[in-house]
Each structure stands twice: as C-alpha cells, then as structure tokens.
C-alpha cells in the first residue's frame, strides 16, 4: 500500500508538472467569456448556458486529461523506456498500474474540482448582477447544489475512461491506445442506440449482435445528467448510486485487465 501511495503521489506530481492540467485555464476563460457574452445576447438564458458550457467543459477537459495521462503514464513510460529503472525497484507490476491509476484519479479530481469551483464562481457572479425579477424566471437557482451531482457523475465517467486508457496502454502504442480509448468513449455514447437498433432494423443477427455489444460496452451516456440538472429535473440518489456502482465496476474490470496484461508482458 505504501508503494502504491508513493507511486500515485509521484504520478500526480508528474502530471501536475506536465502541461496537461493547463488546458483547464482556457476552459475556465471560455466559461467566463461565455457568461459575459450570453448575458449580452440572450434574455434569461445565461444561467442555463453557463451551466451547459461549464459541465461540458468539465467533461471534455477531463476526457482530454484522462486519455492523455492514462495513455502517457504507462504506454508513454514504456515507450520512453523510463519504466525500466522503475520496474527494477522493489515494486510489483500490478502495483505500478494501481499507483499510476490512483495518481491519475487524483489529477482528475483536481481537474473537475477546479472547473466546478470556477463554474460556481461565475454563476454566483451572474446571480449577483441580475435583477431579482430576472432571477425568478430561471428554471433553477444559479448556485444550484444539483450541479455537484453532475460533476460527480462526470468524475465517475472519467474514472472509467482513465481505466480503459490504462488498459489499452498496457498492450499497444500510445497513439493506438488513445485512439482505442476515444473509440470506446464514442461507442459508449452510442450504447442506447445499439439497444434500440432492433426497433429500426427489426429482429435478426444485426440486432442481436448490437444488443449483445450493448451489454458488454460501458454505457457512458447515463453519466451525463447535464440536461436534467439544467432543466431542474430530478436526478434520484438511487440513479446516482447505481450509475456510480456501474462505473466503478467497469473501472475495476479495466484495471484488472490492465494489471493482468502488464504483469505478464515482455518489455522489449
């Protein structure tokens, strides 16, 4: 455990040193700019737009971080061969996978956390500058705690993506692993379409294959509750719990696969 903690802390520090986390800054600026612009352009919609943009920014920015770091921390180290000296230390390979993943999750928490704070800040500013009358027209309060649910589920989704990136990175080149992770991300959002393919093409082999695939692939769309949160629709705690559990099990699955593959791999 001590080894894993040390590896995680080191991976996080390495990530923070790299430029990956700096993509946060343009997104934060974009958010503030959007708030200001939408205030000029749209009547009564600025809160919704800021929330939409903010949550989307957190998801996209996190996706970028998860893929770049998830792939770079392992495949990058293998390709640069910096992993050679590390693995000659008294660490087991699965501890390396776990440690890197923990560091990555820490980086993602910081990532989403910073954007959430900026988002709340911008929203508080919008709320403070608007008239009470305009505020009454909003569907949801500007500083809405429900946003935290959305942020939390985004984080869980990113944990799945990061685990997948780490898994793909254990047996392929960084570029290929990144491509596969993004592919999984896109496919994960089409999961609902796979399930309902039968409604379009009718029963048959294609539909059965699609349904089968929809069971295996992680369905990533349910992690996005932006629309619900923005439109003041309920996101029941049971939904959050079940979605989180699903995400964590998928993350564990990918991590287990990563540990299995990496532990047995020749590092040529």
């Amino acid at each position: 455990m001590r080894v894993i903690t040390q590896l995680a802390w080191h991976a996080f520090r390495d990530a923070a040193r790299g430029r990956v986390l700096y993509v946060l800054v343009p997104f934060a600026v974009l958010l503030i700019g959007a708030a200001w612009l939408s205030g000029q352009l749209t009547a009564g919609q600025e809160v919704k737009i800021v929330k939409d943009l903010g949550l989307t920014a957190a998801a996209l920015c996190g996706l970028f971080t998860a893929v770049v770091l998830g792939v770079g921390l392992l495949a990058g180290e293998v390709e640069r061969r910096s992993v050679y000296t590390l693995l000659a230390k008294p660490v087991r390979r699965h501890e390396v996978v776990l440690g890197k993943y923990a560091g990555l999750v820490l980086a993602l928490v910081v990532n989403v956390g910073v954007l959430a704070i900026v988002l709340y800040g911008v929203l508080a500013f919008v709320a403070a500058t608007e008239s009470a009358e305009a505020r009454r027209g909003w569907e949801t309060p500007a500083v809405d705690p429900a946003l935290l649910k959305a942020c939390f589920l985004i984080l869980v989704q990113l944990m799945v993506v990061a685990a997948a990136a780490l898994f793909f990175a254990t047996f392929s080149s960084p570029a290929l692993a990144a491509a596969m992770t993004l592919g999984l991300y896109v496919a994960g959002h089409f999961n609902a379409d796979l399930q309902t393919l039968e409604e379009i093409v009718g029963p048959g082999l294609t539909a059965s294959l699609a349904t089968g695939l929809s069971f295996v692939l992680p369905n990533l769309a349910p992690f996005n509750v932006t629309a619900e949160v923005v439109h003041a629709q309920p996101v029941p705690p049971g939904y959050v719990a079940l979605t989180t559990a699903t995400g964590l099990v998928y993350a564990a699955l990918f991590l287990g696969g990563a540990m299995l593959v990496f532990s047995r791999r020749d590092l040529t």
Partner: protein
C-alpha cells in the same frame, strides 16, 4: 517514519525486506475468473440501471441544440456526419414513439428533420421519407401533412426543380389532404421538371379526372412501390396496396351482410351464419381474420392486423 530494518546478512545500510515473493498475477487461474465475474457484474448493473430508470428523458438531450444552423457552426467540417447522426435519431424517435404502448405525439420528429436538412441540405431521404413520416396519421405518425409539405418545399429550395419533391408534395395533397386539384397541379409541375418519368403526366391527368377513387389511389401507390428506393417505403406502399385490397374485400363482405339482412330481417351475429364453415372470419390480405361487429353487421379489419386502421381518406369510397 523510522529507519528501515537491515536485511539479515547484509549491511545495515540496505533497504528493508519482508515482502512476500509470489505476485498474484502469476496465477491467472485466479485472476481471469475474477475479471469474468467483474464483467458480469458490470453488465448486470448496467442492465439494472437501464431497467430501474428507463423513463430517463433521452429526448430532452436530443434536442439540446434546437437550431440546425447553430449546430452547423459547431459541427465544423463534420456537418454531414452529424446530419447522418441526427437522421438516425429522427428515425429512432419515430420508431420508438410508434412502438411505445401509449402512442406519443412525435413532437421531436419535425425539429429533428429540420436539423438534418439544415446540416445537410441535399439529404434526399430525409426530405422524402421524412415527409411521409410527418404526414402519417395518428397513431402511426404525427399527422402533420402541412409540416410534410413545408419540409419538401425546403428541399425544393435546396434543389430546385427536383421532380421527386414536386411529386411528393402532390402525393401529400392527394392522400392526406384529399385536395385532388392541388395534387394534380403538383404532379403536372413534377412532370415538367427535368428528368421526370413519363408516367407523371398521366398521373396528373388521372388525378384530375378520378381524384380520390380507389383505382386512382391504387395506381399512385403502385408507382410508389415501383420506384421506392428504400425498404421502409416499399413496405409501406405494399401495406397501402393491401389496405386497398382489403377495402375491396370488405365491400364484397358488406354486400353479403346486406343480402343476409334483407333475407332474415336482422344482421348476422357471427361469421358462421354468413359463411358455410366460418367459425372465424375470412382472412384479410395480411392474414388476420376480419371482424364482424355483432348486432350491427359491420365488417372491418381486426385491430391487431397490420392493416388497421384502414384509411378513411381517398379510396375509402368504392370505385
């Protein structure tokens, strides 16, 4: 932290020992079943979540950007692919609403088609099939021939003089609005468009003369059937033709019912009274028995037949 203990038999400056050797990953016999178990758990949880929260309003997210023009800016150079994506969503929305237990209102169909055709103004099937879906009467569609015509007119603005759109507008007027004069006018225009097939001219003439009768309708649907370039439309045309056949057959059975009533002074109460060995009714062209309304003697297709409900519009009247 204290200074680590020296390793037995080595200098005191050495790092601590004591971690057991065999790594767990050396035993795939244990790891692989665990992974399989995890996979099953993941799929199971995902399934449970889908079951428990099926009512999650996916539709809300579909129209997240309600303006096709705005979406086009966001789409960068992927507008064509995005159009395909939205077309799939439109068809899905239609299919899902149609299959739902309580017939929905298809309220997203028109906006989705609008987005598709804005993203890709030359998306042929989105105009043609889209118009048919929009015009389809409730519960098979939203029953909005006006939106169908508007969509096709948008298509004409993108590709002026395309005879298919002109023909389809005429078709909507003919079948759904039963405005044969306007329909004939559009067929006429279509026949003058470049590349228009020969039969459009006679269709225009026929529509003027025999607008609304069953033979005219049959000719129209045969054309649709013969020229349909997608399976769904072909199946729909086939169904319409079968419906017209069913209308013919119902006319024949109704005549028999009338004769029975005239002879006995009351309508038949069951098919057995009318047909020598008819425990169940005769089969409609789709293979489902016709129903005979007890007491009233009205013959119609069964609600479970794919032909149900029969069109009340053009062609319902006997030739």
């Amino acid at each position: 932290m204290s200074r680590p203990d020296p390793l037995p038999g080595s200098g005191s400056d050495r790092p601590p020992a004591g971690r057991p050797a065999a790594p767990w990953a050396a035993r795939p016999g244990l790891v692989v079943p665990i992974l399989v178990l995890l996979a099953a758990a993941a799929a199971g949880l995902q399934y449970a979540r889908g079951r428990a929260y099926e009512a999650r309003p996916v539709a809300q997210t579909v129209l997240y950007v309600p303006s096709g023009a705005a979406l086009q800016r966001v789409a960068l150079s992927f507008d064509s692919a995005l159009a395909d994506l939205y077309w799939m969503r439109a068809v899905q929305h239609y299919g899902r609403t149609r299959r739902a237990a309580a017939a929905g209102r298809y309220e997203l169909l028109q906006p989705l088609l609008e987005i598709v055709t804005t993203l890709d103004p030359r998306f042929d099937v989105a105009y043609r099939l889209g118009a048919i879906l929009l015009a389809e009467a409730h519960p098979h569609g939203p029953g909005r021939p006006d939106q169908a015509v508007a969509l096709l007119e948008k298509g004409l603005r993108a590709r002026p003089g395309r005879w298919q759109y002109l023909h389809d507008i005429g078709f909507v007027h003919y079948w759904w609005l039963q405005d044969y004069e306007t329909a004939a006018h559009w067929f006429e225009r279509a026949s003058e468009a470049p590349g228009a097939p020969w039969w459009l001219r006679s269709l225009a003439a026929d529509t003027l003369v025999r607008g609304g009768d069953r033979r005219g309708s049959r000719a129209l649907w045969r054309q649709v059937y013969g020229t349909a370039d997608n399976p769904w439309l072909r199946a729909e045309a086939e169904r319409r033709l079968l419906q017209l056949d069913a209308l013919d057959e119902i006319d024949a059975y109704t005549a028999a019912v009338d004769r029975f009533a005239r002879r006995t002074g009351r309508p038949p109460s069951a098919w057995a009274e009318l047909l020598p060995d008819g425990q169940v009714g005769p089969l409609d062209p789709a293979g489902h028995p016709y129903t005979l309304q007890r007491g009233a003697g009205v013959v119609s297709v069964a609600p479970e037949s794919p032909l149900f409900p029969l069109p009340a519009g053009p062609g319902a009247t006997a030739p």
